[in-house]
Amino acid sequence: MEPIDHVLVVDDDAELRALLSEYLGRNGFRVSVARDGREMRQLLEHSSPDIVVLDVMLPGEDGLALCRDLRARSNLPVVMLTARGDEVDRIVGIEMGADDYLAKPFNPRELLARMKGILRRARSLPSVRSEGHRLRFAGWILDLAARHLVAADGVVVPLSGTEFRLLQIFVTHPNRVLDRNQLMDLALGREATPFDRAIDVQVSRLRQRLQDDAREPRIIKTVRNGGYVLAAQVERID
């Protein structure tokens, strides 16, 4: 039996706070709530939640500043909520080090799934995090906010949802062998069945996008009986 996860919800809307608290409580979380940054800090002094759900629009110090502050002090995962669904917000949110970003009105089940995903990843694959929303590797840039690749000559290469998630996992865990089950779970959100080639299909697509030769790949290498590994230095740029 997994330990009960402790979530801290920071939102200035009292009703939403109460509803989230009830919903997450029903779904197996221990929930604390705070209405602004001050309350959040007080709570953090004598408890240590596993994850924070943080609204961007808060009275006083806003969510983005709080997120940056949290990030500076710990590896505590953060999911940001915002009512402004635009790209700028997402860029800033990811810049400030949020692990995920949901636009209101979000589907509560989606929030639940993302939180679980983040917690699972945090436990199984601790990744190095720092500020910046663009990652440079092997001459390519992955833009985490825009969710696309940029080639060395500046050409934007759009990615499908699955391609992006898979590549995101690779670039946040460079030079580390990731087996098919891990990839399946994190990128496709399901368990691999025996002889399941779904991940291999996705990896070969990704190689095609990265113009990586399938017979002699240089970027995403195949590990016999293991899985795949991103063989490249990853560098954060802003």
Binding site: D13, E15, L16, L19, L20, E22, Y23, R26, A83, R84, G85, D86, E87, K104, P105, F106, N107, P108, R109, A146, H148, V150, A151, D153, G154, V155, V156, V157, P158, L159, S160, G161, T162, E163, R205, R209
Partner: protein, 467 residues
């Protein structure tokens, strides 16, 4: 029938040409009247003096010597004969009595002796045929009127008959033919008129160009506003009057734009403010105990969310000139296709682009995504066909659905326009997808149109982007 030409150019040329013609006619008339009478007077005076002198000589010569002189004098314009009695010439016009008297006065003054002199001026019918015609019809009333009042304009000659009683009792009769100023002058006027007209035509072209060029620009500007209310104001050029029209137009454009922005801002704010209550409702619905109720709630909510979401997307798509980056269109189409396949859609991809296209990647993806989504939703499956050449990039999204009536092909781009039947809210559309897609196409300087497929089967959404 329209007498006035449609265009300003046509009207200007017409007015100028008509004015020119009238002015020329008037001056020709004045010229002819003036000149006609002057010439007439001069030649008449000379003729009178000549007749008087001849009469003087004849009077002095002995009778047998006269014949010789008469032979000598015989010409085309003056003939002399001697008669025992005065001839009866009575065809003159009463109006000419003044001229006859004047002519007679000059003759008498130059005779030196008081000889009895009578003068008759008659008009000679020009040709035998005309004479016959006049005899038949009794000379047309108009002809007669013209002859009486504008005798000097008539092409025929006049004949002056002067009879002078000599001292020996015989009468010398002079027939003089006065050549008329020819009306044929008008004919020599024709080439001159043509030249003038040509010059006026060129001038009219220049003048009208000066006026119409800024007007045409204004018209284009007004049209462009329909497609893009963000366009820059029109340059205030051209003549004063046109400039003031353009100015008024620019003021109007600014006001319309402010109004549109205000309205968009209001709707955007409303849509935005709906987000928090919608989030709360979502959570409440998730926690409803009754599964059937919850599912209904969630469906309604999903619909409301979709509308709020696409309204905001729509206002965003009205936004400004996008920041462009070269985009791999092949990868873009594949990623859209892949995402739809992941949710069970059937998408086929044909063709490949020649080179990356400068676009706003997220916006163009949204545009394509909306079109492919429509094709899958209403047309079972989607075919993305990329057709690229040096001038434009064309992306067609075809489906195999029932299609839509020809007359609705353009209307479906209107925000919230819905077709009866299959295209209703239950099928998941919000009525903004195509408007958003077209806005994005236009941002990129391109166009999006819908066409019926071959044999009216399915729909083809054609996105054309200029290279």
């Amino acid at each position: 029938m329209r007498l006035l030409p449609r265009s300003l150019f046509g009207r200007t040329v017409l007015v100028l040409a008509a004015g020119l013609l009238l002015a020329q006619l008037a001056s020709a008339l004045v010229n002819l009247l003036d000149r006609g009478s002057a010439v007439y007077r001069l030649s008449a005076q000379q003729l009178a003096i000549r007749i008087a002198h001849t009469a003087r000589v004849l009077n002095r010569l002995p009778t047998d010597a006269r014949a010789e002189l008469i032979d000598e004098l015989a010409g085309t314009d003056l003939q002399v004969l001697l008669s025992a009695r005065p001839l009866n010439v009575n065809e003159g016009y009463a109006e000419l009595d003044v001229y006859e008297a004047a002519f007679a006065r000059i003759v008498r003054r130059n005779l030196g002796k008081p000889l009895k002199t009578t003068v008759e001026i008659t008009r000679l019918p020009r040709t035998q045929r005309e004479r016959d015609a006049e005899a038949q019809t009794g000379a047309g009333a108009f002809d007669l009127w013209l002859g009486r009042h504008f005798y000097f304009l008539q092409p025929g000659t006049f004949s002056v008959v002067v009879q002078i009683a000599l001292e020996d009792g015989s009468t010398a009769v002079f027939f003089a033919r006065v050549p008329q100023e020819r009306l044929g002058r008008l004919e020599t006027l024709a080439p001159r008129l043509a030249l003038w007209l040509a010059i006026f035509f060129v001038l009219a072209v220049l003048v009208v160009r000066m006026v119409t060029r800024p007007l045409a620009r204004l018209a284009r500007g007004a049209e462009a506003i329909g497609a893009d209310s963000e366009g820059p104001p029109l340059a205030e050029e051209g003549p004063e009057e046109v400039r003031s029209v353009i100015h008024a137009f620019n003021v109007m454009q600014t006001r319309v734009r402010a109004y549109l922005l205000e309205r968009a801002e209001l709707l955007r704010a409303v849509s935005h403010d709906l987000k928090t209550p919608l989030t709360r409702m979502r959570l409440r619905a998730e926690m409803l105990a009754d599964d059937a109720q919850r599912d209904k709630f969630l469906r309604d909510l999903a619909e409301m969310e979709a509308m709020v979401g696409s309204s905001l997307e729509f206002f965003r798509s009205l936004g400004h000139e996008p920041r462009r980056e070269p985009v791999d269109i092949g990868a873009l189409a594949e990623s859209v296709a892949e995402d739809w396949r992941a949710t069970g859609g059937s998408v086929e991809l044909r063709g490949a682009p020649r080179s990356p296209y400068p676009a706003h990647p997220q916006a163009l993806r949204r545009c394509l995504d909306n079109l492919v989504g429509n094709a899958i939703r209403y047309g079972e499956r989607a075919r993305i066909v990329i057709d690229d050449d040096a001038r434009r990039l064309r992306i067609r999204i075809e489906d195999d659905g029932p299609g839509i009536p020809e007359e609705a092909l353009e209307r479906v781009f209107e925000p919230f326009y819905r077709l009866e039947g299959s295209r209703n809210r239950a099928s998941g559309g919000t009525g903004l997808g195509l408007s958003i897609a077209r806005n994005i196409a236009r941002w990129h300087g391109g166009e999006l149109v819908l066409q019926s497929g071959e044999q009216h089967k399915g729909i083809i959404a054609q996105l054309t982007l200029p290279r």
